[in-house]
Subunit: 355 residues, 2 copies
């Protein structure tokens, strides 16, 4: 159907190899005369020649395809990352294949299998959990790979994450400084890297401040909206409910807000809220939310850079672990339990920021 090298060869009277060399700009290297070059280029344009990347990929073992695996593209945080990655990848001459694992390890494995059949040049993966044989196999076969947002310690691999532990710790510290003692968290999917780090940050912050950990206040099981909704309702119904909630994703936050609205809970008067992941709309909400903001564009950009480097540099002595810092954005969703009123005058040890 489409026009091939062979056809151009027939028409111009040269061989396919000559046509190929001309069109891949290797005329000098292979001593093709300028006249021939002109003729071939002209004809190729005229016929609208378009190289077949399948054939090329087969021969060259390069597809200029990058595979991205994200847990949930409908989550604004991930979709924003996807956006950045798409942009950067394209700027480097690659195209992006995206897969959604839906936070399911089997889907992740299956999708990776499909990716590998396609001869993808490099992978950016935000792994679901802690199972990693499929990833280890990828590494063994020397496929360029960078882990994003979530690391797997056992793997010697390039990765870029944010300091989830610190983000969580500081958020909790901020709440404690505001006089809160009963602080709940609504977790995301357990046994993911991010979740583990955030839980740890929470626990250590409490411990360091001499507050006993109440397992009743640790709820939730995935990063979705419904989880936020249900978990918040449960927390509110506790005999001794929390005075503050720390949510682990923007989608969870949505559910929490929804639940608070239904229960006619005023934030921060009746309940303080701090959220992980800053949302574009956060400043315009009934109560502007105090949030841990992750450096999203930086994450995406660095991940792509690392990957492209690895693709080009095949050597890659040692893998790099990039850890980026989050930022606590203080707005108006935390109540000062000591002085009363809003706690947005309080500071943290973290670089902070108002807007």
């Amino acid at each position: 159907m489409a026009i091939t090298l062979e056809e151009i060869a027939k028409i111009t009277g040269f061989s396919a190899s000559t046509v190929s060399r001309v069109l891949t700009k290797q005329s000098k290297k292979y001593r093709i005369s300028q006249v021939t070059e002109k003729v071939i280029i002209k004809k190729a344009k005229e016929l609208g020649y378009r190289p077949n990347d399948l054939a090329r990929g087969l021969r060259l073992k390069k597809t200029h395809l990058i595979g991205l695996m994200v847990p949930d593209i409908s989550n604004p945080f991930f979709s924003y990352l996807t956006h950045i990655i798409q942009k950067k990848v394209y700027m480097n001459g690659y195209s992006l294949i995206v897969a959604n694992t839906n936070e399911d390890i089997n889907t992740e494995i299956e999708q990776l299998e499909i990716f590998r059949r396609k001869g993808i040049d490099g992978y950016i993966i935000m792994p679901v959990g802690t199972k990693y044989e499929h990833l280890a196999d990828l590494i063994e076969h020397n496929k360029p790979l960078v882990l994003l947002d979530r690391n797997i310690d056992e793997l010697n691999v390039n990765c870029v994450v944010v300091d989830n532990y610190r983000g969580s710790y500081e958020a909790i510290q901020y709440l404690i400084n505001a006089g809160h003692k009963r602080i709940a968290i609504i977790q995301g999917l357990q046994n993911t890297y991010t979740n583990n780090e955030r839980v740890l940050g929470y626990k250590n912050a409490l411990a360091d401040n001499g507050i006993k950990i109440d397992e009743e206040l640790i709820v939730g099981n995935d990063f979705r909206r419904e989880n936020g909704f249900i978990s918040t309702k449960m927390l509110l119904k506790l005999s001794n409910p929390p005075t503050a909630i720390f949510t682990f994703s923007d989608l969870i936050t949505l559910g929490t807000l929804h639940a608070c609205m239904e229960e006619k809970i005023n934030i921060p008067d009746s309940l303080s809220v701090v959220v992980f992941d800053d949302i574009d709309f956060a400043p315009f909400l009934v109560t502007p939310l105090t949030a841990v903001r992750q450096p999203r564009e930086m994450m995406g950009e660095v991940a792509v850079k690392l990957l492209i480097d690895e693709i080009k540099n095949k050597s890659q002595e040692r893998k790099k672990k990039i850890i980026l810092e989050p930022k606590l954005i203080i707005r108006k969703s935390v109540r000062d339990m000591i002085l009363g009123g809003n706690a947005n005058h309080l500071n943290t040890t973290m670089e902070y920021h108002y807007d």
Copy 2:
């Protein structure tokens, strides 16, 4: 590197063709004995054979790749569509390549060119504008294509859009019913299908109600946040400012809210706002926004279904144009200029909805 048919053939003592036939489940058709079948399958599993889709695609002229072109993935509306499409495409055994055109026609053309080299089986495109030679060429070459969100009338092509004209018309009618006469719109990118339809709905609604069109109140030039911000500021500074603003995208809305906050404009007391595209956070904003909601999942699902049908059915006598209906979600961002107070008791001719 990876294990091939040929290697399995060598090891088992059969030919590559036999191995191929077994592994593609054509043993009966080609009368391969069950013993042979067993042996080959066992060995293939053992060696972790993974077919090379490049070679297969080259031979079969099928890649199981779907190409998606979106104007701006960071826009929640589009990222949600992307999510749905990814899911559906995967359920049908395809993988998704996504390109971001950035609302730039040249990028669209360039990206399409790249897609075509990759032997993609079908395309879902949300075109930037009204230039369509590259799309016409795609159709001429019988490549399965569906246009999404934005149609191009000149093209005989499958498409799924929502009735933007009606969505806009009804939103404006609602504002008029609430007593508004100076109604501004903040447009998106001009000469896109959606924008044209929405502007037309606006103008006709005004005309049908005997309100003169004031060009001063038609502002804006793209779907982004900055546009919303700047355009709102401009509108507010008019000597005779509007009493209501209709924004054309969720990102524009963000900018409008931002501007209103800076200018200390209360919604709806000082300014009524209706927005196109419903936002997850809309109910929780300082003022819950009255919005035209588009049936996003339906759009994505129908688009994929149409495409897969076209891929399978190559015949395709006549193309289908699917028009979905939007819904006006009435919340609290419109003031009743006649009775005062909120206009959320008012009805429209459209199917309406509270939440």
